[in-house]
């Protein structure tokens, strides 16, 4: 679907937000879903779409927040307000917010993992579910917290909040039993997500992580985005893998080995 960019905001040198007019997507997107965007129409290089979490939804628009990484995201950085981009979505399964195994939601965020948190924040806020956000970054200037709430910050350089990593900050609070029956919703770099899973195992609390893998299609037809599962008999892809695009991108910690 071709959709116009209606706003572009720069957050940091290599982080920006695109607001795209797409009522068909904004009307049905749930927290944790993503869209698949073709960086460039009419060229076969880059060839494939790039997946981006839906960062925010309005009446007739969605936003994505993009970290410049390689050729495709660089291409998007060149896009201007008014231009059309080719977008497919919403894709993937939402965060598993409906499960009744927790009473406090803990949003654990690292870097551009922030992308899937605003819709989750909105959801918990709307339902008056108690929630807290733990947000880590290298330094204060890298936070993109416009849509977040109840935030505890951690920075490597101590320029904002706790000095150290966000998982240690969270551990301190869990040790203090600050949160009643918490579940972790985690999105960030893989090492941080692994640390979060270890922490959740330690405290025996539920934990859902949102994974990133390379994707060719984003819709379940290429089988290109597997993650190893702990389950024995689950997906149409056989016994050993889930597809991140179709069964994820987020998984309960017990479902997968990553």
């Amino acid at each position: 679907m071709l959709a116009p960019i209606i706003e572009k905001r720069t957050i940091t040198k290599d982080l920006f937000v695109l607001r795209i007019e797409a009522p068909a997507i904004s009307s049905i997107t749930k927290p944790g879903q993503f869209v698949n965007i073709l960086p460039r129409t009419n060229s076969t290089n880059p060839l494939l779409r790039r997946p981006f979490s839906v960062y925010q939804c309005g009446d007739n628009w969605i936003e994505i927040i993009v970290q410049i990484h390689g050729s495709g995201t660089q291409e998007l950085a060149y896009a201007n307000k008014g231009e059309l981009i080719d977008i497919l979505g919403p894709l993937g399964m939402p965060w598993k917010v409906q499960s009744n195994n927790y009473s406090t939601a803990i949003l654990v965020v690292g870097g551009v993992g922030v992308a899937s948190m605003p819709l989750l924040t909105k959801f918990f806020h709307g339902l008056h579910t108690p929630f807290a956000t733990y947000y880590g970054a290298r330094t204060a200037s890298l936070f993109a917290d416009e849509y977040l709430q109840n935030i505890s910050y951690a920075t490597d350089d101590g320029s904002k909040g706790f000095q150290g990593n966000v998982i240690d900050l969270l551990r301190n609070d869990l040790l203090k039993e600050k949160h009643l029956s918490p579940k972790l919703f985690v999105c960030g770099p893989t090492p941080m997500m692994r640390a979060a899973v270890t922490l959740a195992e330690e405290f025996q609390i539920p934990c859902e992580v949102s994974l990133e893998t390379e994707m060719a299609c984003g819709v379940g037809i290429c089988q290109g985005c597997p993650v190893v599962t702990t389950e024995k008999e689950f997906s149409t892809s056989g016994k050993k893998f889930h597809l991140v695009c179709m069964h994820g991108p987020s998984f309960e910690r017990e479902q997968i080995i990553f």
Partner: protein
């Protein structure tokens, strides 16, 4: 063409194609492994509008597929090493075929196996459970990404002959052999398929390729090498179809890097009677539908009332034939 000639209206353009007696509404199929089993893309694509769906290679037992990483983007292409991840023939006939039977299109079941016996068993199992729109079989003797994925068959012309002869008596439906480009010459394979009783051949499967992560010094694909597909390989595919066309009179289904109707036309002109869209489904899950519509428009513009007039219409002068001069 002269402006005075009769202008053909789009609805008049006959896109239908017949392969060994089986009629397809139009010649734009989707390729095995690039459209799942139909259900996944149904949200984005009018399944009934596809010429035919070639299903993901099915083997006797379910296969989990290869460890990640399975895909890498390359210039105008991609490498994959899925490893024939599939549900196995049991689930295939119980769930997938019945699901696909609901759509007004033809189904071609692609089969992968590691022995002639297994190919035969899978085909017989499907044949026993055939649904009304099952048009036939495409035999994958060309998967480069698993040890037992058939490429050992695919590069051995005697084996391809033997396999074809073994499968032929088991079905009256279409028997299509899918050939690999990873051979010095594809002509003997095409000829052998004809002699052994195949109804058609399809080509090309992916081209063996590799990519390396320059930071970890590891191959990017978990199986070291993978299969290259997408627009990058289209010129290779067209050359292979051209070579096969000269070697056999069997119907040929062209595959490789087709992204639009103009690309498809190149295959038709060279002699393919139908084509399959692969990698481009990942970019546009409704690629086959879009290409069908574009094709209709192109033929109309060329004032051509039937695709049949295009198939094999390549103009090669004798001068051209004498490579070099």
């Amino acid at each position: 063409m002269g402006t005075k000639e009769k202008i053909i209206s789009s609805s008049e353009v006959d896109l239908s194609v017949e392969i060994a007696g089986v009629r397809f509404a139009h010649p734009i199929f989707v390729a095995s492994g690039t459209f799942g089993y139909g259900s996944e893309a149904s949200r984005f694509c009018d399944i009934s509008g596809i010429g035919a769906i070639v299903t993901k290679s099915v083997s006797w037992k379910p296969r989990p597929g290869n460890y990640p990483r399975r895909i890498v983007e390359t210039p105008s292409g991609m490498l994959n090493s899925i490893g024939l991840a599939n549900v196995g023939v049991e689930v295939f006939v119980k769930e997938k075929l019945p699901y696909l039977a609901e759509f007004d299109t033809k189904i071609i079941a692609n089969i992968a196996a590691s022995s002639i016996g297994e190919y035969c068993s899978v085909l017989e199992e499907i044949e026993k459970n055939a649904t009304k729109n099952l048009a036939g079989y495409e035999i994958n003797v060309s998967c480069p990404n698993v040890k037992d994925g058939g490429l050992s068959f695919g590069t051995n012309v005697e084996m391809v002959g033997e396999l074809t002869r073994a499968l032929r008596p088991l079905t009256k439906r279409l028997l299509i052999l899918k050939l690999t480009p990873n051979v010095t010459s594809v002509a003997p394979f095409a000829k052998t398929c004809e002699d052994a009783g195949a109804d058609a051949i399809s080509l090309i499967n992916t081209v063996i390729g590799m990519s390396v992560d320059i930071y970890s010094h590891k191959p990017r694909i978990s199986t070291v090498t993978g299969g290259l597909s997408g627009p990058a390989i289209r010129p290779i595919a067209i050359a292979k179809v051209y070579e096969a066309r000269k070697a056999t009179s069997l119907p040929i289904i062209g595959i490789g890097g087709i992204a639009n109707a103009s690309d498809a036309m190149e295959f038709f002109i060279v002699g393919a009677c139908a084509v399959q869209v692969g990698t481009m489904n990942f970019v546009h899950p409704d690629a086959a539908i879009i290409i069908r519509d574009e094709l209709q428009a192109i033929l109309q513009k060329q004032n051509c009332s039937s695709l049949k007039d295009i198939v094999g219409s390549l103009q090669v002068s004798d001068e051209m034939r004498s490579l070099g001069w």
